[in-house]
């Protein structure tokens, strides 16, 4: 009885907060969920769930994959609740669940819930909301402070997985793809592509020894970090077979399943964009949508906003990209992308601190797991650091071999826009973190103003 009363009180508070926020036109807040948990920590236990639940988790690519899945599902008649505008932690998921149910939370009003779930909070979600399908994009090192290391997140996920959940996993990732071996799974991946350059020089290599026998693994193909085709010469451990595989990428993405090839539009130029695409497709195939049907959905899909935004003015391009703070793999992937764009000279503005208003002294150890060396290229004419930790970033850049003459810094992120030398560079990459997107967009505006004044058409 007490539990029920607490649930009702929590529900009423949360609903009131949601109404207030709606009236104030505030989206994407998890405050109602926060209130509900304060009153009743087991709030999720008593909420009705939709007939089907899809969850998406993993270190990188969750949001983009989720957005693409939702875009594709919008072609169906399914009534869907999702947290794409909100947060992927417990509080945000509560808001999603409240939106998916009638007032008292005892009856679902949707056919399907699609939720992005932060892997760290899996033990708080899956006991109550048991996904029918779980897409695990990949598992990499992430924030040391929160996620420790890959093993820890793997254990958290594996021990919290409900028995009924089907997995959709990346066969090229021998960490996540082997999770919970008793669960049925569909695998996706990307075959080595024509002209693809392997990246064997990443600082982070989380799978170097065989998980079965500790022998050194051989990488028959190493896409980056631990993504690729591995083989143990001692016990013959290797990747799982790939059910849905990208076999070719030109102006389109060519997928093979069961000896038949399907062609899809290409969204984005980065290999991570291809992974996001094939992961979304694999999830929906496992959900029950035919590949041929998905092809028709792609025809008029709105281009999914990836975290890559390039605008050209007078021959100069400003490219705003997220390089997620405290995530050495995410930042390394961005640096690797820049490394490959050799046809145009560039400046890189790096403003991805996490410390809000500089009230803390942020741990920047992750710089030393990040491949800053990738920016030591002849076409990278300038590396500009902005924010409070510029002295640490300077040390890292120097130790990475980047000539001091190419480096400049500003404590004020937005003032980094004044340090770009447009006589030297054609492109400017503005790399931001979870707390500095506003500054990145401001920098872009300032750069446009400078281009207008200083660059001849």
């Amino acid at each position: 009885m007490k539990s029920h009363l607490r649930f009702v009180l929590a529900l009423l508070l949360a609903r009131s907060a949601m109404l207030a926020l709606k009236l104030l036109k505030r989206n994407g807040t998890h405050f109602p969920g926060h209130l509900a948990l304060k009153v009743y920590p087991q709030f999720l236990k008593y909420l009705a769930v939709a007939p089907k639940i899809i969850a998406i988790t993993g270190t990188n690519g969750k949001t983009t994959s989720t957005n693409l899945i939702l875009d594709l599902l919008s072609h169906t008649d399914l009534k869907i609740a999702h947290n794409s505008l909100g947060s992927n932690i417990q509080e945000g998921i509560i808001v999603t669940m409240l939106k998916s149910t009638h007032f008292w939370g005892q009856k679902s009003k949707v056919d399907l819930i699609v939720m992005e779930v932060d892997e760290r909070v899996s033990p708080k979600i899956y006991p109550y909301i048991q996904p029918d399908y779980l897409l695990i994009t990949n598992l990499f090192r992430d924030s040391y402070r929160r996620n420790a290391h890959v093993d820890f997140i793997y254990d958290i996920l594996e021990t919290s997985l409900p028995e009924k959940t089907r997995l959709v996993v990346n066969a090229d990732d021998v960490v996540s793809s082997f999770m919970a071996p008793s669960h049925p799974r569909l695998t996706f991946g990307i075959a080595p592509l024509e002209h693809e350059v392997q990246v064997r020089d990443s600082l982070i290599q989380d799978v170097v020894i065989c998980p079965k026998c500790d022998h050194k693994l051989t990488y028959a193909f190493n896409r980056y970090h631990h993504i690729g085709q591995v083989y143990c010469p001692k016990c013959h451990f290797t990747n799982l077979p790939t059910d849905i595989q990208v076999i070719k990428v030109d102006t389109h993405v060519h997928l093979k399943m069961l000896d038949k090839v399907y062609v899809f539009p290409k969204i984005g130029n980065n290999i991570t964009d291809i992974y996001n695409t094939v992961s979304a497709i694999a999830l929906l195939v496992d959900f029950g949508i035919e590949l041929s049907t998905l092809q028709t959905y792609f025809k008029d899909i709105t281009v999914v906003k990836t975290r890559f935004d390039a605008i050209e003015r007078k021959g100069k391009r400003v490219i705003v990209m997220m390089a997620k703070d405290q995530n050495p793999v995410a930042v390394s992937r961005v640096f690797d992308y820049i490394r490959t764009q050799k046809e145009r000279t560039c400046a890189v503005i790096f403003i991805n601190e996490n410390s809000e208003h500089h009230t803390g002294s942020e741990n920047m150890a992750y710089y030393y797991d990040t491949d800053v060396e990738y920016l030591n290229q002849s076409h990278v004419q300038q590396v500009i650091g902005g924010g409070h930790r510029i002295l640490d970033f300077k040390v890292r850049c120097l130790l990475a071999g980047i000539p001091e003459a190419k480096l400049s810094f500003s404590n004020n992120e937005v003032r980094c826009s004044t340090l770009v030398d447009f006589k030297k560079v054609e492109d400017v990459y503005v790399l931001y973190g979870t707390k500095t997107e506003a500054e990145a967009l401001e920098i872009r505006e300032r750069l446009f103003e400078r281009i207008e004044k200083e660059v001849k058409a």
Partner: protein
Amino acid sequence: MKIELLYPRITTLYGEIGNVNLLKTCLKDAQFIETQLDQEPYFVHHKPDLIYMGPMTERHQLKIIDRLMPYRERLIDLIQEGVTFLITGNALDLFGESIEDDQHILHPGLSIFAFKAIEDRLHRHNSLVLAQYKGMDMVGFKTQFTQLYPTGQISTWMNVDRGTGFNIDSKFEGIHKNRFYGTNCIGPLLIMNPYFTLDLLKSLGISHPKLPYQEALIAAYHQRVSEFKNPQIINYP
């Protein structure tokens, strides 16, 4: 000069590979010997100038204890003989009597020093650390699942001014015996503490040590010291 890196494929978490890369830059003429899991350590039959081991996963902690246990006495001898050890992050846990995991299972450690490690995976411990050693400000970060508890006499390394020591109630951090330096701090430790690194290089016999980009390293260090000393800078809410 010979530097032994113990199990580097699995002991370079949390950016601590930065220590190794800095040492390689400073000691260009040194031979760096990497001992892997399926190899007998170099130190078994030789006396390296420096033995380094950095942080690892909890699963690998137990594996490495298993690998090093047969050579426990040799490690004790080397420490007694004054071989330089630099042990960072949760690698230090291995040198205690035991590691008690989340299920309260006691895993034997190398029992070289008198402490026990207690793990709590539900509550990750993060802290900045400002400490004193030989009149030097030392700075670092803690990010770990274990806390260490002395069970007998130990020779501590640093006195903590701010942040946590062995455990949240302790104001002593790390172990320093002869030339054994072990700390749960990361940073990377050598990059965040250039004066300590210069001191370490001198103790290894480098008469006029100089760090690459020394000015930049020292500038970053002074900023950290000043921040860690500033009470308005919060220490991990």
